[in-house]
Amino acid sequence: MLLIGCPWCGPRDETEFRYGGQAHVAYPETPAELDDQQWAEYVFYRENPKGPFAERWMHSAGCRRWFNVLRDTVSYEVLAVYRNGEEVSR
């Protein structure tokens, strides 16, 4: 049971959140100009590191805001939490 620090509501149990996978994967500005491989990279390929991972969570049972978490995928330790548009500060 992770304890996730919602940047708006403070620390809450993992059960209040929805996981959103890798953070900072921007929707391509001009999808039509991408070739199939590039489009596949956007749709299907995500980083899967063993160690620190920038990921998105949404506080679904609380303020319903998406935000970013830097979390170690081995120790599960939350290293940083930051709002959309903010930089990670550890």
């Binding site: 049971m1 992770l2 304890l3 149990d13 929805r18 959103g20 921007a26 929707y27 391509p28 999808p31 039509a32 991408l34 199939d36 489009w39 596949a40 956007y42 749709v43 299907f44 998105r56 949404m58 679904s60 319903r64 805001r65 998406w66 120790s75 599960y76 330790e77 939350v78 959309n84 548009g85």
Partner: protein, 874 residues
């Protein structure tokens, strides 16, 4: 071997009656079943699981490997260590041979959970834990202590929250500790009703102090499993806590000083100690008992209980025998590091005490007392007593694993303790190797020549002690297993005999049978009413989202495959949304309330997912758009009034509205006040192809307005209908149900909705349509199927194959039936199906594989009923 005349923490003034294996026994409050059995001189319990050897009570706590009980009760429970079952009056139990029995009687007990937060959590109420809790206690600081015994081992400040009979079973990330409290198990029939039998505590702690103590290890020698061989510390516990002497003539076998405390206490209690056999060459203790140093017990005598032991010097050959009925053994102590290890805490081998000890604590935790190796005795490791045969040197008593078994595994090539565990099943029994784990590693090291520290332990897994499934289920059982979501109109449906369908968590009326009707008859009647007269259904479960903002139209343009930006206020439009992979994700009708406000509907099951989807795009991709979404699913009750006579009904309800097709055309809506005074939004939307109105009112009025519709419709024999009739009506029109006619592999084009895919704008998923596989012309496409015999209703899920295909597996399949109904309107059964290249097969005959029969079917256009759409205007 009996209850001592004095001493112990049992209430001798009260006698409790109980029985074990049919023997009527007595004990006192404060006893466990084990201590009360020992007080009667009974040490033997169920025989061993595989070899059928006699076994006895060996320990005094959770580490007990042998004494397992099946305890009777309203629901019998098995595999409970007799050393942990508190005695109550009337307890009836039988001993087990390593295997329990599940009672089919429904468990009547209540289980609950508790979620609490504390600054400090101390696990363990022994001296170290009590001290840690007392030290942590301070004004404004929340301190909790949990201990598995009925009372903590010392005085605690009053502001410390103490949970007794509570075992910390698991330790999880961020100091989340699970602890099981046994609230009424010790009360027997006196347990109060409505109080949970057991409670699972979810404790989030700022700091965790582990004061979990240590478990004593037995020694490994021939015949070390017989009844009468008992851990020295347990012998002492029975003396001091329960006032019970577990034997009358005792030999002690040890490799460390801790056993001498037992010797002293036995002597103080007047119990004869025949000898102490100490594996260490030199011993400096002051007890008035003969000590054989540098020696070991090499075998035990007796069958159902030991009658004596054979002792030999570890260096020499001379064997001496001693009579005894109890052999107290101590092979050293293992700190209870389970909770530390569950958090990936490191361990190191400490040679001086021959034990794995924590190598530093995990973040925000500390380990105190014996759990940290503190105060444990210098120990001479003696992993096994040398012998000619190792077939009765038991390492894991509960799984009947001997030294010979362990060495067979290492001989087979296994170098890793995990392999040995799996080859022998060592350490996997009910006690999870609490007494056997470290000894096993010693035995492996003996065979492989490495050090115990290098070999390392197996992983410690939660739970620390076994927990009943029902205790983990807690309150979410039976009626409360999962929420049933219901609409404001639900009471009417129940009263009128609806049968319900589960759609997500919602209960939706499936159909409303009249007396004697089966589903086919009821649905046929409901469909006839909608096509020929008037019918109404509760559509309140549809997801509803208000979308405000100057960019709301632009936003919907990006989300839906079709265009919404130019939709006029007062108008409605059906939309489809896709995932980035181009596959249909949800659909529904959206109203434009005014320039900057839309009202979007989703499928019943999709509501939460769609709102999340919209918010995700808005918050993470397009935060600059002026758009705000608000879920209003339960705000509105939605009543669909359907059929040629629907206008007559609605005109009674909403007399202020001009309902003519010209004044109130299809795919528009009007705000009005009903004759009853209820404000309403009425839409000309049709999911049936008939003239239809959807009346939306505040769900406060949902039931009332539903009844108003019913009243107004009585002259026209208005008929309530459920999801099944809805499905028939929509399928006749070729309207899809997302999730039934689509399965995550269907594009809007595949579903016959190319018309809903804009070529003028981009939207989520658009790019995927041009991928080579997605652009194939022979993809599976949704079409209708008409069984050519005009009578066969194809089962949903039927596979479709080409004509003249041999039925030799694997048979090439063209697709499958997604929806299939008997149509009253068409006077025949029909189906929707996803068929490869279906749209170019219209008119072709294919075969439906039904059971072992092949049923010819003709491929037809998706829309079978009123393809011109002439009926929707009435």
């Amino acid at each position: 071997m009996s209850r001592l005349p004095a001493g112990g923490r049992v209430d001798r003034g009260t006698v409790l009656r109980f029985s074990v294996d049919g023997r009527e026994l007595t004990g006192h409050p404060g006893d466990t079943v084990a201590s009360a059995m020992l007080a009667h001189g009974i040490i033997e319990v169920g025989r061993s699981i595989y070899r059928g050897r006699p076994r006895g009570i060996m320990a005094a706590g959770v580490e007990e490997p042998n004494a397992l009980l099946q305890v009777d009760g309203p629901c019998s429970e098995g595999m409970l260590p007799a050393t942990t079952v508190e005695l109550y009056d009337g307890l009836v139990a039988s001993t087990l041979s390593g295997k329990g029995r599940l009672d089919p009687t429904p468990d009547p007990a209540v289980y609950d959970k508790k979620f609490v937060h504390t600054d400090v959590l101390v696990v363990g109420g022994g001296p170290a834990g009590v001290k840690a809790a007392a030290e942590a206690s301070a004004p404004g600081v929340r301190v909790m202590l949990v201990d598995d015994q009925p009372e903590p081992g010392g005085e605690l400040p009053s502001d410390v929250v103490v949970l007794t009979r509570t075992t910390a079973i698991g330790s999880y990330d961020d100091n989340y500790v699970l602890a099981l409290e046994r609230r009424t198990d010790h009360l027997g029939a006196a347990a109060p009703a409505n109080v949970s039998r057991q409670r699972l505590w979810h404790i989030r702690a700022g700091r965790v102090v582990l004061a979990t103590g240590a478990h004593e290890r037995p020694l490994v020698f021939a015949g070390n499993d017989k009844p009468g061989v008992m851990l020295a510390g347990a012998v002492r516990t029975y003396l001091n806590r329960y006032g019970v002497a577990a034997g009358s003539q005792v030999v002690v076998f040890t490799n460390n000083d801790s056993a001498y405390d037992t010797v002293r206490d036995l002597l103080d209690a007047g119990v004869e100690v025949a000898a102490v056999v100490d594996a260490r060459p030199e011993v400096s203790v002051d007890v008035d008992v003969r000590i054989l140093t540098g020696s070991a017990v090499i075998n035990t005598e007796g069958e159902d209980r030991i009658t004596g032991v054979l002792v030999r010097s570890l260096e020499g050959d001379a064997v001496e025998s001693f009579e005894c009925d109890l052999l107290a053994v101590s092979g050293g102590w293992s700190p209870v590091v389970h909770l530390h290890s569950q958090r990936q805490g490191k361990l190191r081998w400490d040679d001086s005490i021959a034990a794995f000890v924590p190598d530093g604590a995990v973040r925000n935790q500390e380990i105190v007392g014996a759990a940290n190796g503190e105060g444990l005795w210098p120990t001479r490791a003696l992993w096994l007593v040398p012998s000619d045969s190792y077939d009765t040197h038991f390492v894991d008593l509960q799984r009947d694993v001997t030294v010979a078994d362990v060495w067979r595994s290492t001989g087979a090539g296994m170098l890793n303790v995990e392999h040995v565990k799996r080859y022998t099943s060592l350490g996997t029994a009910n006690d999870q190797g609490k007494t056997s784990g470290v000894n096993a590693i010693g035995v492996i090291a003996h065979a492989l020549g490495g050090s115990v520290g290098e070999i390392g332990t197996t992983t410690y897994r939660a739970p620390y002690t076994p927990v009943a499934f029902a205790a983990l289920a807690g309150r979410e059982r039976g009626d409360l297993f999962d929420p049933e979501r219901t609409t404001s109109i639900h009471p009417w449906h129940v009263e009128h005999g609806a049968l319900f369908e589960d759609v997500g968590q919602w209960k939706r009326p499936w159909y409303f049978p009249r007396d004697g009707e089966d589903i086919d008859a009821a649905v046929a009647r409901e469909c006839r009413a909608a096509r020929n007269g008037v019918a109404f259904m509760d559509a309140s479960t549809l997801g509803k989202i208000e979308i405000w903002g100057a960019d709301a139209g632009e936003f919907l343009n990006r989300i839906y495959t079709n265009a919404f930006k130019k939709l006029k206020p007062g108008h409605a439009r059906y939309g489809v949304m896709c995932r980035p992979d181009g596959m249909i994700f949800d659909d529904g009708v959206t109203l434009r309330l005014d320039d900057n406000r839309f009202f979007l509907t989703t499928t019943t099951g999709g509501a939460a997912g769609v709102l999340d989807w919209l918010e995700e795009w808005l918050q993470t991709e397009w935060p600059s758009l002026d758009v705000h979404c608000t879920s209003v699913t339960e705000q509105w009750a939605t009543i669909a009034v359907v059929g040629p006579r629907s206008r007559d009904v609605v005109s009674v309800l909403a007399p202020d509205l001009d309902l003519s097709a010209e004044a109130f055309p299809f795919m528009t809506f009007r705000e009005t006040t009903l004759a009853s005074g209820v404000p309403a939004r009425i839409c000309r939307i049709s999911f049936s192809g008939e003239l239809a109105y959807e009346i939306n009112v505040s769900s406060w009025y949902g039931l009332s307005v539903w009844e108003q519709v019913y009243e107004a419709g009585l002259p026209y024999d208005i008929t309530p209908y459920g999801t099944e009739a809805m499905h028939v009506l929509r399928a006749e029109k070729g309207y899809i149900i997302v999730g039934q006619d689509t399965d995550g592999t269907v594009t809007p084009h595949d579903a016959g909705m190319a018309w809903a895919v804009s070529k003028q704008k981009d939207f989520v998923g658009n790019r995927s349509f041009s991928r080579s596989d997605t652009a194939r012309a022979d993809r599976k496409q949704l079409i209708s199927l008409l069984p050519t015999d005009g009578t066969t209703k194809l089962p949903e899920g039927t596979q479709i194959i080409a004509r003249d295909v041999a039925l030799t597996p694997p048979v090439p399949m063209l697709g499958h039936v997604t929806s299939s109904y008997h149509s009253e309107a068409l006077g025949r059964p029909f189906a929707l199906a996803l068929v490869a290249g279906g749209q170019s097969r219209i008119g072709e005959t294919l075969m439906a594989h039904v059971g072992s029969e092949l049923v010819p079917v003709q491929v037809a256009d998706l829309v079978l009923y009123d393809p011109e759409g002439s009926r929707r205007d009435g």
